[in-house]
Amino acid sequence: MTMIDENPTGAPSYKWVGSRSIRPDGLDKVTGKARFGADLTLPGMLEGAVARSPHAHARIVSIDTSAAEAMPGVHAVITAADLPDLAEAGAKTDDVFMSEKILARGKVLWEGHPVAAVAATSREIARAAVAAIEVVYEPLPHVLTVDEALADGAPLLHAEMITRGVDPAPKTPSNAASRVVHERGDLDQGFADADVVLEREYTTKPVHQGYIEPHACVADAGQDSRANLFVSSQGHFSLRAMTATTLGWPPSALTVTAAEIGGGFGGKTTIYLEPLAVRLSSKAGRPVRLVMGRDEVFKATGPTSGSRMKIKMGVTNDGKMTAAQVWMAFEAGAFPGSPVGAASMTAIACYDIPNFLVEGFDVVCNKPKVAAYRAPGAPIIAYGVESIVDELARSINMDPIDLRLANAAVEGTQSSYGPVFPRIGFVETLEAIRDSDHYRSPVPEGMGRGVASGFWFNIGGNSTATVHVNEDGNVNVIEGSPDIGGSRASMALFAAEEFGISVDRISVKIADTQTIGFNDVTGGSRVTLATGKVVIDCCRAIKEDLCRRAAKTWDCEIGDVEWVEGQAQHASGTETPLSLAELAETAPRTGGPISVTKSDNVRGAGAAFTTQLVDLEVDEETGVCRVARYTTAQDAGKAIHPSYVEGQMQGGVAQGIGWAFNEEYIHNADGTLDNASFLDYRIPVASDLPMIETIVVEVPNPGHPYGVRGVGEAGIVPPMAAIGNAIEHGTGVRLNDLPMSPVRLLDAINQRNDG
């Protein structure tokens, strides 16, 4: 049963905000009309294909494209020679790496690294041409894990990479790109003050975002070094910037249209195919479509980091956490940039611990460069921290929720990453779970129960919106944030609430990069907060304008007019109120079209916390677990569209359940990926899961007009630890390595039985 606390703090109640309207893009999506990245066909369009490295690490001796170019139907073949050499041009290191990710230059760094691309009159010809490209490789030894990459004498991916953040700076290069550290208090004293100190090691494997739509785009370049790009992306403006940098073009030369996006979860915040499509199109002089196969998605995009973590924590017998020492090394894949920075900031952010040292390393290895994945980094470190917190609670015989409550970060706590927390709702999520029907029900016979919590910052950032009032008084909202989870529905509700008109009278469109001002990527759970804020700003400016127009109509002072429930009213009550439609009809006589654009770098993001509870049935004969019941409580600040808030919470939990039990990249000794398909990389299906019960906690964010925090990411943080804790509760077996697959669990159960 879903519970919404409609008005926990005496906050204003709303007519449209908080209702469950039909999403603006819904009809197109249930009728097959919605156009996703691969669904655009242009006259004369060519189909592209990408040649990829079969080796995990190799020097490129030569590339011969002549046979491919000579094939009938082939219109363009490109290699790194067709893109600017950003290293030679003195570009920033990150841009050089991005360019080398798009097309290998000199070396290939993982299996699937692009080396060339082809455009031809059909996919079959393009694929045949790719096969006809002759690349001579000199294989090099590879490193696949942080252990291998950090070992003495390990082969280096980047010959000149010196670890940043170490004092004094190392004299020799290594695969460690950087070190981050957060430290407070006196660690030795903290552990001395503890009655129980536990020390554990955890490992996790890379897992993929697993969006169902493979990366896809259509590029149409003119002969004037300008191009149109239609693409499935979480951020068409940042994509435009990255694509332009890679091409050596100014961003404004690209007009990028955001297709409907078939899932992203962070994985579509970066570029893969887009510069290739534009360059192929400009070389061929025809539009080019590039679409990945699922194997390419697994081998060459995403995933998030594999890791090794060492965690030591101390607690007193009466439940006070006294010290935490956390060490973690994250796989970045072929180029620096794992989410270890965010992981180190989130690691113990749920708790007020006086003494700690959190240290993280960003480590390159011969796997695909990691991409953002829902609360990047936080779920990985939470698996370790929330597991050891559970063990500590058990060791002092304390309820795991009570231990968390006794140490919970609250308003005024100095966060582990620095700033003092403003109003936050961590305690409220713990209490919501503690008081839930699920927690108050006895654990069913033969099952294990686990609890875990999670934190994510949420961000604001740059957004632009335009709002028009049509001549019939209906409203168009134009925004520039690709909608990955229902944000258009929220924008429509904001506008309906502000104007006091039915949500059916609002239409919402996502405009291309030439039509609306800049917007940051859809990520960091920012859109409902930040884009919502500028939409609200537009509506409020228009309401002022409407009052001014009404005053003109009535020949009165603007101070005598106010906007009430969809119409301008005169304070005296002597004038017949003017509706939005009436004011729209007379707009030419009161100042012209009614339209406002607002832009802002929106501040005021509010952190999200969640606490989750799971009951598991473990089949001790097979090691297979069944999730019998799952409840998640998350602080949304304010649920604008409760159904899609619940949907974000449920989706995050489902991904976390897959991460806990099944999902992992399986590389073989050659450094190539053995499970690059949905058959072998098993994400949860409908029959794996129960209903996922949601408790939407609403502790309003003081930084947003409606109290929004953002709900997209926190939900994926606790499930792995919650499930590990439930396994131990049910079986007495503790697993410290993800995934907690049937094989691993069965081994552990057998060891327990033998021991």
């Binding site: 009809l27 009728t31 097959g32 059909s122 169902i212 739509e213 409907e260 699922r294 449920q650």
Partner: protein
Amino acid sequence: MSRTHINCTINGDETDFLSESGGSLLNALRDDVGLMGVKEGCGTGDCGACSVLMDDRITCACLIFAPEVEGRTIVTIEGLANADELHPLQQCFLEGAALQCGICTPGFLLAAKALLDKNPDPTETEVRYALAGNLCRCTGYDKIIRAVLDAAEGIRASATSGDAA
């Protein structure tokens, strides 16, 4: 490249098209017939995004050679609504927020239709197993399952009232 002339019924209309003989039904529907509601998520029959009804059976279009549909009846998402009226499943998916990104939605709707046509009163477990060949990464399936159960109830109710009338 040799091409095969294929005759079949698609969404109620007799249709013919030329398809590459080694090509899949998925590519034929998208490239040759222009029905872009059929989605490719994997190309290997693992995700169900390309699900269509072939002679009323739910089928992954990526696993069928186009010439295999000669003489058969195909229903895609574009054929699910009845002219100006949505199918109850479509209406329940909209009202129940049973979609987020929407890429898997056509496949789910057709798989659910195949289920309800055979079993108008399924249990939650039966719905979950009937839809286990369709992957959704956004929703955690909760609202999809509820929407299918709601649609089943609505269809049964209207059938009963129809009988009474």
